[in-house]
Structure formats: structure tokens, C-alpha cells
Symmetry: C2
Subunit: 365 residues, 2 copies
């Protein structure tokens, strides 16, 4: 029997509550389908800091590196707002991305038909929306050195962050975007600020060359990142796949997610390069939303983004495409039936808590 190893990092806040619903689905797949998932669990973010004084322990990093896939909940909360920079909750997430070399972050922004009215955009602009943002995740200003604050001595400090991109980093993320576009509507829009940033100039050049050499069949366009943000707000359905750097990807994917009206529902996948021998790629799956400390512990958090992240895991890490499709369909069905957590409650729907939402999706699965 295949074994499939999963390392679960629920993290902080609602992370533990939403991960519990995924654990039920995993257990059911093992029992009913002999899926062979083997799970282990660790601490990340504030909860790791409380236990170990760091945002993720060396032991848990080892387990994350060894697993077929990592499921990540969320990190952070006011309790840890003043911990030292190096051990702040986000440091755990950033270390996982970097040490697992998860350079490709896939962020689908889809609008669940049942939720089009929840968007702040006019419904006709988001109805049927299906964009995929491909964000570079291990480079740029997130990790470039120097990254420091220096005391200049006269009451002045100087803060420096460094945006660095090498050709190969841009080429490999562009390739991911083009490959995925081929499975979708075959169009990629690349976003940077080449009119201001040298990294934007190189980005543009390498994406263009990669397209010409290997993906000339895909439709490619370029947009300045500020104009791209505007176009996302104005007419989001013009896009299929958007490829962009780490920092622009952070901003643009959050905006795209918010547009859909489905923020609490959106998953993400962070993938490494395929191993040259086994073809396996390291991967981590996490909701786009955060730890929502304001509602943590109340049993009312929406588990859909976490469950949808597990669906991406089935698809990308285990090639269980049919199961992924069915799980995503189960989510859509439950929404169609008017079952809602508080964050997406609408007139005429039935309001449920985290557990009941998880159970209902599992029953539909």
C-alpha cells in the first residue's frame, strides 16, 4: 500500500480549529478509501514561540523537510506583537518557504457562484471569476541581503531591504506560470515595475525570452504592477494567469482574493522544483486568510479555505485529481445548499459553526 506522509502545522488562532476539519477528511479517506495518509503534527508561529522560543523548532523543520506535503494553518496574533523580529510568528512561515525552496506560490482567486453578492464589486464583474496568481516565493525583497537597521549615531537610523532576482529564479517561475496556463485559458500576464526597478527590467526580459524559447503557444502580455492592480479592480475577468514577484504577488493576490468575495474560502499551494530523480516536489498548502485572533476559539471560523488547501494538496502532491475535484465540488455544493459560516452568512441561509461546516462537506464528499 502507498503511504503518503503529511506534516500538519495548524499554527495559531483559527489555524487549529480549521485544521481539525481537515484531519477528519484525512481519517475518512484512510478508512473508507485506504488512502494511506500518515500524519504527524508540529508547532509553528506563536505557539512554537511559546513552547520553544522560536517560530519553528529544528525538529519540526526536519519533519517538514521529510514529509510528502505540509499543511499549514495560520500564524500570528496580538499576543506575539512584540516578540523579537527574528522569532516573530511570520519567521516560521518564511523559513518553511525558504528552506523547503517553495519558489512557486499558486493562489487561485475564484468566485464561488453562491457568493458573488458578497463581493464589494458589482456582481457581474466577479460572477464566474477564475484567476490564478503565480507568485515567486523564495526571492526578492523578502530574503535579499542586506536587510538591516543601522544606527547612524545622530538620532538617525537607516533601514535597508534588498530586492534581488537572478535569471534562473525568474525563468523557473515563468515556466510554472506558462505550464499552468496551458491547462487553463492559455494566457499569462506578467507584472513588474520595469519603469522604476532594475529587477522589473530583468523580470520582463527573462519572461519574454522564456516565452519565446519554450512557450510561444501561450498568449503573453505585460503590465506595470500598479496598472495591474487597477485592472484587477476594474475588470478582473480579463486575466487568466498572472505571474509576478514575491512582494507584488503578496499585494496583488490579496487584492484579487478580496475581490472574489470569497476571501475566507481561498487556498494556496507553495511548490518546490521536481526532484531530478523521483520527480517529487516539496509542497506546502495554506489558506490565504490569516489567524483571525478576534474570532479564534469560538468555533465559528470558516474551514473552507483550509479544506480547499487540502484539495490542492491532493491535486498537486499526490496527483489524486478525481478526489480533488470531488472535494472542491463538495464545497461548492454545500454553499449552493445555503450552509454558511458567519463570515459568509446571507439572508435565507443556515448559519453553522466550524465543525458542522466540516461535517457537512465531508458528508457531501
Amino acid at each position: 500500500m502507498t503511504t503518503r506522509s503529511l506534516f500538519l502545522l495548524p499554527g495559531d488562532g483559527i489555524g487549529t480549529e480549521t485544521m481539525a476539519e481537515v484531519r477528519k477528511i484525512i481519517a475518512w479517506m484512510n478508512e473508507a478509501q485506504g488512502a494511506g495518509f500518515v500524519t504527524d503534527e508540529g508547532l509553528v508561529g506563536g505557539s512554537a514561540y511559546d513552547a520553544h522560543g522560536v517560530a519553528i523548532s529544528e525538529g519540526d523543520m526536519k519533519k517538514a523537510l521529510a514529509a510528502d506535503a505540509v499543511l499549514f494553518g495560520a500564524v500570528g496574533g496580538p499576543k506575539w506583537d512584540n516578540v523579537p523580529y527574528d522569532v516573530r510568528p511570520e519567521a516560521g512561515l518564511l523559513r518553511l518557504r525558504k528552506d523547503l525552496a517553495l519558489f512557486a506560490n499558486l493562489r487561485p482567486a475564484i468566485c464561488y457562484p453562491a457568493l458573488a453578492d458578497a463581493s464589494s464589486l458589482k456582481p457581474e464583474l466577479v460572477q464566474g471569476l477564475d484567476i490564478l496568481i503565480v507568485r515567486e516565493l523564495t526571492g526578492g525583497v523578502y530574503f535579499g541581503e542586506p536587510k538591516q537597521i543601522t544606527d547612524l549615531g545622530n538620532g538617525q537610523k537607516r533601514a535597508v531591504d534588498t530586492q534581488v532576482y537572478d535569471t534562473f529564479e525568474i525563468e523557473r517561475i515563468a515556466a510554472v506560470a506558462f505550464e499552468l496556463a496551458r491547462t487553463r485559458r492559455n494566457a499569462v500576464c506578467s507584472m513588474e515595475k520595469r519603469n522604476v526597478m532594475k529587477s522589473g527590467v530583468l523580470w520582463n526580459e527573462v519572461v519574454t525570452a522564456t516565452h519565446k524559447d519554450r512557450y510561444a503557444d501561450v498568449q503573453l502580455s505585460h503590465m506595470l504592477a500598479d496598472a495591474g492592480g487597477m485592472q484587477l479592480v476594474r475588470q478582473p475577468k480579463q486575466f487568466d494567469v498572472i505571474v509576478t514577484d514575491n512582494l507584488f504577488g503578496d499585494m496583488l493576490s490579496d487584492i484579487a482574493a478580496m475581490l472574489t468575495g470569497s476571501l475566507g474560502m481561498l487556498p494556496s499551494a507553495s511548490l518546490g522544483a521536481p526532484d531530478p530523480v523521483t520527480g517529487k516536489r516539496k509542497a506546502m498548502y495554506e489558506p490565504v486568510h490569516g489567524s483571525a485572533p478576534d474570532i479564534a476559539g469560538e468555533g465559528i471560523a470558516n474551514p473552507i479555505a483550509m479544506i480547499a488547501s487540502f484539495a490542492m494538496c491532493l491535486r498537486y502532491s499526490f496527483n489524486m485529481v478525481a478526489e480533488a475535484d470531488r472535494l472542491e465540488q463538495a464545497i461548492a455544493n454545500v454553499l449552493e445548499k445555503g450552509i454558511r459560516t458567519g463570515d459568509i452568512m446571507a439572508p435565507g441561509c443556515r448559519k453553522v459553526g466550524t465543525t458542522e461546516m466540516g461535517d457537512t462537506i465531508l458528508a457531501e464528499f
Copy 2:
């Protein structure tokens, strides 16, 4: 008689057409009111490149430095897409900002009541919207060194941009934001990515200290820039003044502008520090929109953003508050009357070209 010197830089594309409408208003103010404006005019962007091989000539830079205020149209167009990086059209704009030390960029995002339906957001979310984005304009990743592309020799290049902020740069822009908030709804939201960037850590620290020391009466909040982008889309009316760095300001102000549905109408002011002796500050005024090469030369461009930029000039450079108010009111009245250029045309309105729109506003002024 006072003389007031204005240096006009229409630039490229629709810049020349929209500037022509401002020139009429200036002429009328001189004739009818003895306003004493003395104007001179230069080239910037692609038109400067065509004439001089640079994005702005030394002679025009001298004139810009000597004037009481600069009015700037727009730069760029496909014709100059492949000119060398250092003389690309945007280089003229960036040099003006830097050499005139225009560190404070004020970008009002208001929704003209007559245009609320033009927004892609639901009208109730933007009706009455009035945000002011205060963007740092002479620091950060736009100007930090190193900024270069290096050939690494193995088919690889490395691009580097540097985000740098010193304490004094953050303090002075924060002070501008707090001062302006006092004339409005007295609330400032500061946006950065302190969870990832050291410049965000320093930004947060200096804004907080400036608030505590000098502006404790103003309400201050902090948001991560990605969350800020989401909140702008979700519930823009929650904000009064937003203060942020150069790159985040570029993204966030464009998104805010697009939200209003009034993109073609929005002005901006870029201000320097007051001269210690005269109290005068260098200043440049420009529309938020670009050069719109696709419609340039057709006489159909919307001149309102350029005219509203001149209204900001009256207000901030010449303290002609009553005139500024009247000019802004004239714009609002003309819109109320259903006079529209093509970009904001709506059923039941009357469509006019650039000249007629300018004439109608002048008649109303």
C-alpha cells in the same frame, strides 16, 4: 502686483491636450482677476527625448527649480518603449521629483457624486468617498543604491534594487500626513510590511514616535500594506488619511483612484519642504492618469484631472483657497449637469471633447 511663476511641462500623449485647457484658465485669471501668473513651458518625457536625447534637458530642469510651481501633464508612449533605461520618459518625472526634493505626494481619492455608478465597486461603498493618500516620493526602492543589473557570466544576470529609508525621511512624511489629517477627519492609517521588511519596522517605529511626540491628538492606526490593499477594496470609507512609502504608495494610490470610478478626474500634488527663510515650498502638480497614447491627438481626452491639479496648485502653492474651492466646485457642477467626456459618458448625458469640457468648466468658474 504679485507675480506667480508657473512652469508648464505638458509632456507626451494627452498631456499637451489637457494642459491647453489649464492654459485657458490661467489666461482668464490673469485677465479677469489680475492673478499675475507668469508662465513658461518646457519638454519632458518622450518629447524631450525626441528633441534633446534626454528625458528632460538641463535648461528645463533649471526652469523647474526656479518656478513657484510646476504643472506636469503625462509622459510615455509606445514610441519610446525601447529607448535606453536612463533616458526613458519616466526618468524625466523621477528626476523632477528627486531634484526638486518633492518628498510629499498628496493623492486625494474622491468619488464625484455624479460618477458613483462608474465605479466597479457597489455604489454605496464609494458614494461620498474622500480619502487622502500621502505617499513618500523621493526615497525607498525608487532611488536606493545599488540599483543595477550585473552579468554573472554563466548565462545568468542578477538584478538588484534597494529599499532605503532614514529616520528623517519617515518623520517628515508622517508629519505631513498628521498635519493634513487635522484639517480633515483627524485620522491617519500608516501602511508598511513590518512583518517582512526592516524598512517597515523602522517606518512603524518612527510614525509611532512622531505621533506620540507631536500629534497625539490625531487618531493613528497601522495596517500591513497587503491587508491595507484588501481593506481599500472591501470598505474604502473606513480611511481618512493613509501614509505609506514610495512603492506601496504607488500601488495603493492607483487602486484607491480606480475604486472611485473617477480615475480620469484625480489630481495630485508633490511638495517639498518649506524654505526656512521664505516659507515657500517647491511643488509639482500632475494628474494621476497617464499619457493615454491610444486616444492622444483625437481631442477626446478628459482634462478634469489636469484642471483639478491646477486647483491643488492654487491651494497649496499660492494659498488661493477661495479660487481653488471655486474651481473644484465648477468641475462638480459641470458633472452634475451631465456634461461628459467619453471616458465617463453615461446614459442621458451629453458627450463633449477636451476643449468643450475645458470651456464649460471655465464658464462655470
